[in-house]
C-alpha cells in the first residue's frame, strides 16, 4: 500500500455506466482500487460483475463516466503491459493445436516490438509464469489436452508472463474442482505477495476467500456493498442451498439478423 497516491492508483472509475444494445446494465459505479489491493467482485449471475470487469479493461465502452487507469484516461491509455487480463476459460482452445508455452508467450506481446523474436528475458518470464502455476512439466503439451482447471491456470500464466501490475480475472474458479481451485488460490497468493493489484470476478470465493482484502458486491447493475469481506460463510464446510434463480441472465437481447450490431 505504498503507492496509494490518488493520482496513480490503478483504477479510478467515477459515475460509470454501461449500456448493452441500448439497455442500461451498469449505472452509478464509483470504484477506486489502490495499489496492492485484492478486490473480489461478487454478485448473482446477471448482476453486472463481469460487465464491470469488461468495462474496466476497455472491452465494453462506458456510456457515461470516466475511467482512469494508472491516472491516464482510458482513451489515451497505452501502457497495456501494466495490465493482465484472464478471461473466462472458453478461450483457451482453438481450431489449431497450440502448446502451453505458445499460449503463455502471447502474454509477452504487450512488451514486444513487431517482428522481433522472443528474447532471453521473454523466455525466462514465460518459463517462470508456467512454473508458478505448476505446469512446468506440461509446457510442451497442447492446451486442448489439459483439463479445465489446468487450462485456467494456463490463462493465468499468460497474464503473469507480461509481469503486469494490475490483474483482472473473470470467474477464474468457475467449473474448476476444489483441488484445482486450491492450486489457483496458491498461484494468486504468490501474485498478491509480489504486491500486484488484483480484481477478480467470482460467484463464490471458495479457497480464494483468505486472499481477499475487499469485497464489492454487485446487485442489478449497482454496487450494493463495498468493504472488507464479511466473515464469509464460504469458509465453512457445509452445503449451500442453490440461489433462488440461477438461470443464466445476460443483458444482451438475442440477435438473429446477420448484420445487426451489438452496441
Amino acid at each position: 500500500m505504498s503507492l496509494t497516491h490518488t493520482e496513480t492508483c490503478p483504477i479510478r472509475l467515477t459515475d460509470g455506466a454501461v449500456a448493452i444494445a441500448g439497455r442500461p446494465v451498469l449505472r452509478g459505479i464509483e470504484l477506486v482500487v489502490g495499489t496492492g489491493e485484492f478486490v473480489a467482485l461478487l454478485g448473482a449471475n446477471g448482476s453486472g460483475k463481469s460487465t464491470l470487469v469488461r468495462a474496466l479493461t476497455g472491452l465494453r465502452p462506458l456510456t457515461r463516466g470516466e475511467l482512469l487507469l494508472f491516472g491516464t484516461p482510458l482513451d489515451s491509455f497505452d501502457q497495456w503491459e501494466r495490465i493482465g487480463f484472464v478471461p473466462q476459460r472458453s478461450g483457451a482452445a482453438s481450431g489449431v493445436p497450440a502448446s502451453v508455452r505458445e499460449v503463455v508467450s502471447s502474454g509477452r506481446l504487450s512488451r514486444r516490438r513487431l517482428l522481433r523474436p522472443l528474447g532471453a528475458a521473454d523466455r525466462r518470464a514465460v518459463d517462470d509464469a508456467i512454473a508458478l502455476v505448476g505446469l512446468a512439466d506440461r509446457a510442451g503439451d497442447g492446451v486442448g489436452t489439459l483439463s479445465g482447471g489446468q487450462q485456467q491456470r494456463v490463462l493465468i500464466a499468460r497474464a503473469l508472463a507480461g509481469a503486469p501490475e494490475l490483474f483482472f480475472l473473470d470467474e477464474p474458479t468457475a467449473g474448476v474442482d476444489l483441488h484445482h481451485q486450491q492450486v489457483l488460490a496458491d498461484a494468486l497468493g504468490a501474485l498478491k505477495a509480489r504486491g500486484s493489484t488484483v480484481v477478480l470476478v467470482a460467484h463464490e470465493l471458495g479457497p480464494l476467500a483468505p486472499l481477499v482484502d475487499r469485497a464489492v458486491v454487485m446487485q442489478d447493475g449497482r454496487i450494493a456493498y463495498d468493504g472488507p469481506p464479511v466473515a464469509a460463510p464460504e469458509t465453512d464446510d457445509h452445503h449451500h442451498p442453490a440461489p433462488g434463480d440461477v438461470r443464466r441472465r445476460d443483458h444482451v437481447p438475442h440477435v438473429s439478423a446477420p448484420l445487426e450490431r451489438d452496441r
Binding site: L118, G134, V255
Partner: protein
Amino acid sequence: MSPAELFSLPFMQRALLAALFTGVAAPAVGTYLVQRRLALMGDGIGHVAVTGVAIGLLTGWSPTWTAVVVATLGAVAIELIRERGHTNGDVALALLFYGGLAGGVLVTGLGNQSAAKLQQYLFGSITTISAGDVVVTLVLAAIVIGVCVGLSPQLFAVAQDPEFARVAGLRVRGYNLLVAVLAAVSVTVAMRTVGLLLVSALMVVPVATSQQLSRSFRTTLGAAMLLGALASVGGLVIAAFASYRATVAPGPTIVLLSLLGFLVTWPVGVWLRHRARLRTPFADEPLGHEVSHDHGPHRHAHGPDCGHVAVPHDDHVDYVHDGHRHAPHDTHYDEH
C-alpha cells in the same frame, strides 16, 4: 518427350515455380483461418473472386488484379459481418458465396465470353501461366508468406483469444482485416494453380493434415506450409507424367494428393490421440482430465487423483464413492 525435356520447357518451369509459392502461401493463411474456425472462408472468397475474374474478362483488364480487388472487398465484408453478426456469420458467408458465383457467371455471359475462359479460373490452368503472371504470383505469395510468418505471434494471439489480445493493446480488428486481405490475396494467387473452386482445399487440407500430428501452433504452421508445397509441386509433376497417357488436370491432382496426405496421417493422429488418452487415469473421460503431478501435502479434496472414479457430468466432474456421486462445487459437494 522425355521427362528431362518436359521439365526443361519454360511453361513447365513457370508452372513449377508458381505451384511451389502457392503451395507455401495458401496453407500459411489457412492456418489462421482454421484457428478461428473459419475454414470455409477461403471458399467464400473464392466464389466472390469469380465475379472479379468475370469483370476482368468483360473490361479487358487483367483478371488477376480485378480478382484481387473484388476478393479483398469480399473478404473485408465477410470479416465485418462476422465481427458484428455474432453466430450468424455463416448465413452472411452463404449470401456472399452465391452472390459471387452467380455474379461471375452472369457478367461472363454479358461479355460474350465462353464458359471455357472462365473455367480456366474456376479449376486452374497452371500450365498456361505467362511469365508476367509468374512474377505477380511470386511477389504476392512472398508477401503473404512474409506477413504470415513475421507477424505470427500477433496473428496467433488475436486468433486464439481476441479479448485477451485487445487488453494486451493489439489492434484486433486491424489484424482480423489483415488476415482477411491476406486470404483474399492468396486465393487469387492460388486461382491459377488449383482454381477458385478448389482453392480452399489448398488452404485447409494441409493444415488439417499437419494438426493430426502436431501439438504446437508453430509446428502446425510450418508443417502445413511444407505439406502444401509438397502437394502442390507433387500434384503438378504427377499430372505432367500422367498426361502422357490421359488428360489429367493439375488443379484437381494437387487437391487429391493433398487429401491423400490427410488420409495417410489421419490414422496416425487417431493412434497418437488414443495413446495420449491412455496416459490419463480414466480412459472413459471425453473431457480429458489428467492426473496433476503437482499436488501438495495430501488433503482429501476430491480431485482427478484422489482415487475415486471420476465421471464427467455436464460442465463438471462427479466423484463416485460409497455408492453415491459427489461433485465439488466451490466449498461444498453437490450430491448427484
